[in-house]
Every structure is written in C-alpha cells, then in structure tokens.
Symmetry: D2
Subunit: 308 residues, 4 copies
C-alpha cells in the first residue's frame, strides 16, 4: 500500500484499477459535455506529427517513409489489377516514431518512483512485451468529456507566452478559471495554455527550447487533486515546470501520474483553440482525445479535438 | 478535367479541394450529431493495434518496441533526477508501423488509376517526402459527425458473418437502413458491419482470411453517391468485395477514393458497437474518427469512437 | 562459477573474457589462413538481406525503405547545390531489421539458461540499452581466419539436402572432414552445409520450412569442444537440429553459446561455396565474417566471405 | 552516351556494367593482397554504429532497440523449451538505421546529376522498391584487395587533423604516398586519413562538425582516374571538401560516383590503423570491406578491416 505522506488515489477505485482519474468521467458528464457543441466547430489541439516539431532530445523525431509513391508509377512501376482503365495504383507508407512523440498522452505506465507505479503496480510488469498493466490501451475509450481551456498567456501575461522556468501556481490556475468565466468540475479535461510550443517553431536555434519551460509548480498538485480533474494537458513537453523548483528531474510526473493516477497530455497546440475561445468567450467544449489502441504502449500520439 | 462516363465529384467543391465528401459534414450536422449523445456511452471501433490482428500481406505488421522498461530498473538502470524518493523512472517505447495497418483511414492519396488522383491531382505530387496534396493531414479536423451503423450481419444474414466473396448490393444497404429504423443523411459516416474481422481472430490458419472478403459490390457506388455520405468504414481489410466481381484488383478504390473523393475506413471493429445498438435499438450516434495529423501520409491508424 | 557437469570454457580465458572461442584464432592462424588465397576468388556466404528470404517466425522480415529515389526527381524534387549541370541528386534509404535476420551471427549475449550467460555474466546486464557485456561489437575484429567447409550434403547424402529433423552426429562431421580431404584445426571457422536454406526459396508454402531442420545433434558438442573451433556456421536458421532430440526448444544454444562461448552463424548460403570447392577440391580458405560494430547488439547481419 | 568534356568510365567495362572501378580488382591483385598479411593483425576501420557517432544532419541516427532482454527474464518472462535447467532464454533486438549511417559505402546509385547515373543508367530505375541497377548488393563480393593508407595528417600536417574546408590536392596525395614509402596501384582501395572523424567525439557542440570538413579537392579527380583506384574511403562524412571549392553542394559525388563509377567510403575510423602503420612502417595491407547484401540499397553500413 501507498503509505507515504503524499496526496494519492491508490485504492480509490479498487485494487485493480488501471485508469486512475479517468474514472472521474461519468456517463452524465459525457452527455453534458456533448451539449456544449453549439456551433459545430472542430478545433484540433495537435501539432503536425513530423520531424519539424519538437521532439524530446532523448528520443528520435518521427520518420515518415513512403513504401510506394506516385512517382514510382511515373517511373514504371506496374499497376495492380485490370479495372478500371488498366489497373489501380497505390501509395503506401510507414512510420517509425517514439510513442511519446508529438502531441501525446503519457500513459500511467510511463513514469514512477520507487518500485511501484500507480495503484501499486510493480515496475517489473512494464516489460519489453509492453506494459502488462497501465498501458495506454486501457484508456482506449477515454478522454471523451468536458474540456476547459485555461489560457494563462492571456489571463496572467497579456497574451504573451509564459517565460521558461515559470512555475504555475494555484492562484494562477484560479486566475485562468476566472478569465474563462467558468468553473472546473469533476471529470474535466484541463487544457492549460502557456504559448510555449508555438515558440519552438520560431526559434533559429532549437536547443534554446530545451533549456527550460513554464509549467505546473509543485503547489498545483493539491489543486488538481481537489478539483478532481480527469486529465491535464499543456502546450509544453513536460507539463511541469522545467527546471524543477527543487532539485532536478521531473518530480510532478511522480506526483501526478504515479500518486494520483492522473494522465498527462504533452505538446498540445492550443493557440487555435485559444483564439476561438477569445473570440466567442466560451472556454468549455466537448473534448475528444482518445489514444491509439496499442496494447502495452506507455504513450500514444494523438489528435485531440475540441468540439464547440 | 474528369471527362469519363463515371460518377464523380471532381470540381464539385472547387479546383483546389482536397477533402472530397468530407465537405458534406456541415457545422449544423455536427451540432445535430452531438445531440445524439444520450447515455454517455463511448464505444471504440478499433481493433488492437498489434501484430496479432490482420495486416494486409503486402505490409509488415506493426512492431512495438520498448526503449526503456520497468525491468531495466530492476536490472540496475539509473533513475533520473533527485526527487522524490531518490529519482524518477521512465518507460519509453517506439512503434514501427505501416500507416495502412490496423483500424485505419485510406487517405484520398492512397489509390487512383490513370495518372490523376481525386480532383485531378497529378500522381507525381505523391512523392517520397509525402503526398503534397490529398494527404491524410488535410482531414485532421474531420470525421466528426453523425455515424450510422448498418449491421448487415444481423439485417440480412441472421447475425452470421457475410461469406467471403459476397458482394453487397444497394438493396442490402437499404435492408441495413431499414433494420436500423433510421435513414442515411448527407454527411453521415457510414459503418457497415459484416462480421469479417472478428473471424480473423478465430482462425488457426490466418492465410484463409486473405482468400476473400465480403464487401461493397460495384452497384453500390451510385447508392453511396446519391446518399452523399461523408465516409464509409467496414470491418474488412478493403471495404470492397474480394475477389472483385469483374476482373481482378480493387476497382472500387478507384471509384470511391479517386472518382468520388470518398474516404474509406478499413479493419474497423464493429461487434461491440453492434451489440450495443441491438440492445438499445439506436443505430445513430456521434462519430469521432479523426486521423493523426501526419503531414503527407497516405493513411492513418485511428481509434474511431461511437458516442451514444 | 560454473559448477555443473557440463563441458564449458568458463574462466578459460580469464574472468573478464567476452569473446569465448574466438580466442582460439591466433595471429599465426590468421597469417596461415591468408596463405590459402591462391586463385583470388571471393565467394559470399550471405543470402540476400530482404523479405524474400527466411525470417524466423517470431521476428519481422527486414524492411528496406527509400527516403529519396530517382523517381522523386522525375516528379519534381529539387536538386542540391549548383555544380555540375545544375545540381546533384541523391537517393537515400533506411532499413528496419531484426539483428537476427538473414545471414547472421548470434552474439554470446543472444541465448542462455539459468541466470548467467557465458563466463558467468549475469543476465541483468543484457538491458534495453543493449548488452553491456558479450555484445556482438566485442567481436568487431574477429572471425578472420581459416574457414573449412564440411559439405555434408555431398559427403553423406549424395548431394541432396539433409532431411528436416536429421541430427548430425560426430561421425558425420568426421565424414565431412574426410570428404574435404583436410583436417579441422584449433581456431577454424567451421561452415557446415546441409542444403537446407536454398530449399526455402523453392517452397510454395514457406511454413513448411519452419516445421523442422537438419542440424547439430547433442553428441556433437563434445566434438566441437575437442576440436577447439572458433565458430560454427550453417545454412539453417538455428544450427542445431529442430525439433530437438530430447524435449523441446533449443538446448544446443545453451551448450554452445553459453557453456562453450562458441559463436553461431545462421542462415548462411553455402551452395556457391560448395560448388567451387567441389570443382577445385579445396575446402579450406581465408574466411572473413566480421560483424557490424553495433554496441550492445545481441546479433548482427553479416556478409561473410570465403576467399580462395 | 556520356558526351560531356569530363573524365569518365562509361562504357569502359561494357554497357551493362554496374560495379565501375571495382572492376580494377583482379584475382591476381587479391592473391597479392593476401600475401600482405604478415603479422596476423586485424584492425577495424569502423566507428561504433550508434547514435553517439556522427550522422549526417538530414538523416536520423541509428536506433537500436531490444525486443527481448535479460532484464525481462528477471521480471518474469517465461523461458523457452524444456532443456537444460528449465528452459532457454533469448535476447533479441532490432535496428532502425539509415543505410548511409556510420561507416559506410555510397553505392553508385546514391548520387548523380542530369537524369542518368553511372554508365547511363536512367534515374527512374532508382525506385521505392530499391535501385534496380547499381544497388550496393552488386558489390557483395567486392572491396577485397590491396588497401593503402595515406595518412595525410602525419604526412603533411605534423599529425594534426586537417582543417575544416581544406581541399586536398594531387600534390598532397603524392606526399601521402611518399610518406607511406609505397606506391598506388591499379585496383587499390585508398584510405585517406585526415583526423576529422575522431574530432567529432571530442566536440561539446556537435553542430560545429557539420560546418565544414577537409576533403578531396576538384583537382584530385584526374589523379584518382589516372591511378585507377578501385575505391576511396576517408574519415569524413562526404570524402570531398566541404564547403565545395566552387559553388555549393557536393560536386565530386558527381565526378566520382557518377562519372568514374568510383565507390566512396565515408566516416571511416583510421586512427587505429594509422597508429599501427606508423609503428611498423607498413602502409599496405589486405583490405576487406564487403557491404551487406541488401538488394536495391543505395548504401550499406560496413565494418571494413585492414589485415596486416
């Protein structure tokens, strides 16, 4: 059992639970979230999944390779079949990618400390055949619910991106909620905009991007726990502030993924959504951000949608 | 210009259109579709994305590889950072996959005949750097709309899977609509269940699966065109009947993707959805099946959801 | 320490040895082997490294993908630079491959039993970052020496391939040596031809190939140990007879790789070499079969050469 | 036909030739080269094939991934088979790599100008299925012959690495030959040491490495043509000086690969070889640098050996 003096949700949904705070999303919440669709507008929160976007330096950027192209046919590749007009032609492609690349969910099996993951799952079950427990595929029907955008760049920084190393506080989250003229409810998927990811694309020297990032400070853990949000996603590579406030590393990955069972979304693109929300004044929407159903994966690239 | 004696949508949405029948999905249709969410139930139409599922024989099955595992730490891999409890641990993974693997969309750049793709796009623009036009990323905010399930296995075959080589007719589609006690509307995403993909998992000799499949017959092209559906997805590997009714190959890929600009969904898992629909008698729902945002990709694995 | 009643070489070359029987190859042996080059003929023992050849069913076949092709330029891809004649053009490619694919060495870190590998190396050092000990890169200057071909197909079976399941005996190895009119010396790289791999390419149903293979029987372990060969390579996928003589699995991988530290070569192509040897009557040659220098790899595809 | 006013070998070995200057290596030359093995010393000219070494910025560094590790078994993965001692254990791995990564050969299909490659091969045959002509596999029995090291760092620069941007001249090549107290003969594989690649490993900011390199100047083309060497390899990423002397790009790739049919070796590690040669005063040796036998590949990572 988890017996340290830390906030946690271990055992809250039974000893076999593998989805953590996704449990907060109830059928009623989904129905209510669908009612938020009023204009029929769909906004993607994904950056392009390619090598031009930010990839964490320990990982390779995604590589897209064509197995068959249109140019092949011009070069003499034979067509397939007899109909119509002499035969069909096909283009085919492959992708080699880190599952923690581009806009993504961190599975609950992605990070931990000690020798146990969320809910006491022993680390040894995260094997080369994949995570036998807490894999992202356990969420394959999840992250459909009410989304709320906290546009901190507009709410607390005049629309400018938050500075590298800026630790977001509970008061700033509250300011974001106030700016949105709404509230945060149990089961919400919280999108927090800092303006950080779009900055990457403007940088001549991309290494600057990796020297620090705005993000959640340690004091927000209690706030997130109290508000019972289902997931948190941000337009940064690590959600939590970098460098960490105390010591080094990524301590909030431990506090959120491991202690709370709170799934984290990273490298979201929130500028288009924020512009739309600033325009219509509505910061709540139906959010659909299901992962790919990859058994045992510890993450998944996604194309999360805000539907308003 | 497309001047053959064939049904087509070339030019219908302008000379630069790259999304074809996805244009049929209007904001009003999206709002109406969201109103179909009544029970707050989410059902995935994806098979697991792994090597155990069907992969078209010309492609490699997806390969999931762990870069870092929990077992590594037990074996002595160093932790990262100082907090908490001595440092964080991370699992990381990679995927090598055909983008036409598992449950997937065929992009409009996936198949054609002659030297032009949908809307007159020349084949030479589908290059090794990706499809400069008609790539799947052009659909990154699409395939959100009203979904309708035509459960042909139940509607015309007593619940049994349709036979290999069975060409689906317009009358059978109508029977499926009647069985669903609904109608098919402009902009719908049509899911057609044959029961074929689940059969794969039961086969001792998987090669049997690839000797034939039920699917759309040539006579359904006009029906689909007339009903102005936005997309068609099935629980088969090719949507169209295999072997083809006349000659060899995949002629409906030409008629649908290339002539109509109609995106095709393949290897969907429709049994769970069908069981739910049979239970509550409701065959319409909010469908959310957005692709990954991979620039220039000619397909994308997806996790399409029916939300009821 | 290795204290079972089995033949072994643990400790023979010190507690830190990582190359096992490759130690048998001395500088003098290399000089002598080079003297065997009399005709200036080079014969490759590699099958083509592609998806058409045999790949062990638990692995994916190698996938070769072009990143840039000649067809791209015909399709309008820009050239690079100014000289000559308007700019250079480049083709580029990628390979995704199991390192145990095609003609290959099994590293000493590839197989073991108990919790220790050759020379007492604990299994935990074979981590996701690669084999910290006994990786194939430790052999990066090895497998240059005297090669001897034992053409068992000709020596004991009238030139026909040995049957699936045929366990090779010490007497048959001796018959192969006698047929070659030579001897086997300390440090030799032994190539044993059964005719099995070429059969694969003739099969309509490739699954037949994997139902069994001729190969070394258990009684040959002592023979190989006594002759102090540096490595053994065969034209089969597993070197040892399949199915195993007693029980299931691959027991000789334990006896040879783990107990003796004897590196194994698999899926060699020996027909061209055998034809040459039958023609000139010379079954000894300079063998050069160095692996790629991949740190931590547990195997390596190779293109081994016999130089006569 | 090749009718420009340039040095070339088109047609020299017939209209169907695909190996170019590798034709210079005769059986007699191979026999003579083998006689150069006097001490039984094997020296690898390969850098480690991993992500720590230099990878041309347009390509991904090689990625080595374990499919099964020793740590897996400690974590509970089941063993295979019954013998011995309860079952065998296996480690398995995969590699995703550009074939132009690490120490490598550029195939004759790698670079060209105009619309034809070496010997008039049309560029369209370099398709996504691989190079139908001039693929590296055509060389699968080649690059066995006399190697000669020209240690330019010692011969003309007091042992220091040549500066970035230094264009090597014919006089400097002659100085290298004189320093080696030998000659260059028809069919030789020429290894030219600049000391550039080892510098990469010492750099804190790796991007510096890619701002320029010493290499062959344009005036050396005639020298190489006249000496009828079989191949040229260097400890740089592009063999030719960078930036180019006149204009931009890689003009010598056109002059050497395309006009002469001269295969180029890149990212060789020549320091260990040079130290040995400086010690014994012998700069000629048996060189064995066969590529992998990958059909249609436009390059191949290699582990080239100097055997003295």
């Amino acid at each position: 059992m988890f017996n340290e003096d830390r906030l946690h949700n271990w055992g809250r949904w039974g000893p076999d639970d593998e989805i953590g705070t996704a449990n907060f999303i109830t059928p009623d919440a989904i129905v209510a979230a669908a009612r938020l669709v009023r204009r029929g507008v769909v906004i993607s929160c994904a950056i392009p999944l390619d090598a031009r976007g930010p990839t964490y330096p320990t990982r390779l950027p995604p590589q897209h390779l064509m197995k068959r192209s249109g140019a092949d046919y011009a070069a003499g590749h034979p067509t397939f079949g007899t109909l119509p007009a002499g035969g069909m032609k096909f283009a085919d492609d492959y992708l080699f990618a880190a599952l923690q690349c581009s806009t993504q969910w961190d599975a609950l099996s992605h990070a931990w400390y000690g020798s146990e993951l969320y809910n006491g799952v022993p680390e040894r079950v995260v094997r080369n055949t994949g995570a036998a427990k807490l894999g992202i595929e356990k969420m394959y029907r999840h992250f459909v619910g009410r989304g709320v955008l906290l546009d901190l760049a507009r709410a607390i920084n005049n629309g400018d991106r938050l500075a590298q190393g800026h630790p977001i506080t509970p008061a700033e989250l509250d300011a974001g909620v106030a700016f949105a003229r709404t509230d945060v409810r149990r089961g919400d998927i919280l999108l927090i905009r800092t303006g950080h990811v779009p900055w990457y694309y403007t940088l001549a020297d991309k290494s600057t991007f990796w020297t620090g990032a705005p993000g959640l400070g340690a004091s927000t853990v209690e706030w997130l726990h109290r508000h019972e949000v289902a997931a948190v996603a941000m337009d940064t590579a690590a959600v939590e502030v970098q460098p960490a406030e105390h010591g080094e590393g990524l301590p909030l990955h431990g506090a959120l993924l491991r202690d709370l069972g709170l799934t984290l979304g990273e490298l979201f693109e929130l500028d288009a959504l924020a512009a739309d929300c600033a325009n219509d004044g509505v910061y709540e929407f139906l959010f659909v951000g299901q992962p790919l159903r990859i058994p045992g994966a510890v993450g998944s690239p996604i194309n999360p949608l805000a539907i308003k």
